[in-house]
Subunit: 247 residues, 2 copies
DNA sequence: CGATATCTTGATTATGCTCAACGACAGTGG
DNA sequence: CCACTGTCGTTGAGCATAATCAAGATATCG
């Protein structure tokens, strides 16, 4: 019955940043008691969970909103160790829909469970708050690229961000090659381009020998050069925990 | 010596959403003990406050990052009642710069003061957390407009967002006319257009009799029509507080 | 009042969009 | 095992929106 700590991506991710007390770990494990599985490439019907948040236990999924009949905005890509729904915690009605990219296992828990964390662990609260704010910074980075960068640079930045996130969220050792199960259409809807432009951009990046992409994987050939080219900052690698409560 | 509650935009804004206990109010008032003033249209030098956050007591300012020599991305507009710097709380180094739009009074307080709130008031913590997440939703709305909407719609959406925010942040009764001290260049840098395009877009909106803009004010002529046109949602008006801790 | 910042308007250019057709591939069922 | 289907990625032609460059008009500040 005891959950192995190593099984929880969320706990591993939290541990990446701070030391967790046994109490903190129990609090987090409590959130992953239940599991629900979803098949690949399905729209999630979460009407059974109107006031729940979800921890991603395995698989990729993304949230989006429709704009008109043919266009949509992909808001966020979710990886194992993410908490899905935090962004919407203040909303009375859901404002986004979800789709799975691969087979996915989610752990639903009610919003009100956040209370217990807020009440029992100021230190964990500070970390969750910080990670939420960090997501905002990542969003601002994306906004910046959308507004000002050309297609190829947007795509390169998008891939670098995914690589940086995978490194913290999973046991990824940081290899040059990593999984990219998203279709070009989804990437386009995320960074504001059409699938056609994504295709052209990737081919241009390949021609310049900066990266290559085949069969749902991406290989970064010269990470430093690429980072410099798009002014990429890894927001996940290190955060400021110096001000956290000590308890 | 006693601060009048009504003097604090932040407390007023918080009160808009939940009832504050006397302890909560003291916690918040503690944050506004110090004041620093800045002149209009200045770049803020905050190197004296490397680990501080700021409550905006009066005036408008904005944060931005430079992209290249000639372009920058305006990240956020800050109004009275905002907490500036929350987004960067997890960053070890500042990632944005600030400029005042009008004369501004800020109340600086150290990051670590957030601890006291986390430790002493889970209810206030829940509210601050929710408002942070709400900012993310607003950011996602903006991202959506940037990626998919044409110039005029972006500008209209931007104005509607400001109007909605002013209503909650200040004692603004929701008049059709409101202050808009930002230059067209700043607006452009915020929503990813050049000053030229902003000018054209505003003139088109005026020609269509949807709004008018003169001398640093904007008047919305048909708010409902405009909201429908750009699919605007007011994220500030009402938030879900049902799950908050009661104490 | 002069100096500067801001806004307006026009001509030209460029990037990405739309529309469209084709090829590669995976999954399905006969 | 193979034809069938649908998704996904590639490539090309023409088009549209906003960028750039530039000059003139207006407003604002000291």
């Amino acid at each position: 019955m005891a959950i192995n700590f190593a099984d929880s991506c969320l706990i591993n991710r939290m541990r990446y940043y701070i030391e967790l007390s046994p109490d903190d770990e129990s609090l987090l494990m409590e959130l992953e008691k239940d599991e629900v599985s979803f098949r690949s490439r399905r729209r999630l019907n979460l009407s059974n969970y109107p006031t729940h948040l979800f921890i991603v236990k395995s698989g990729w999924l993304y949230s989006y909103t429709d704009l008109d009949e043919k266009r949509r905005q992909v808001l966020r890509i979710h990886y194992p160790g993410d908490v899905v729904g935090l962004t919407e915690i203040a909303m009375q009605e859901p404002f986004s829909e979800m789709r799975t990219v691969s087979d996915v296992v989610l752990c639903p828990f009610p919003k009100s469970r956040m209370d217990e964390i807020f009440i029992q662990s100021p230190r964990l609260t500070a970390l969750i708050f910080s990670l939420g704010m960090l997501d905002q910074v990542v969003l601002l980075d994306r906004l910046k690229m959308m507004n000002r960068a050309h297609a190829a640079n947007r795509v390169a930045h998008f891939f670098l961000e995914i690589k940086a996130r995978l490194k913290v969220h999973t046991a990824d050792p940081g290899n040059a090659t990593f999984d990219m199960p998203l279709t070009q259409e989804v990437i386009g809807d995320a960074i504001g381009l059409t699938n056609v432009s994504i295709s052209n951009a990737i081919r241009r990046l390949e021609a310049d020998n900066l990266l290559s992409s085949e069969r749902k994987t991406v290989t970064i050939h010269d990470e430093e050069k690429l980072k410099a080219m798009v002014d990429f900052q890894d927001r996940h690698f290190k955060i400021d925990t110096s001000w956290f409560p000590h308890k």
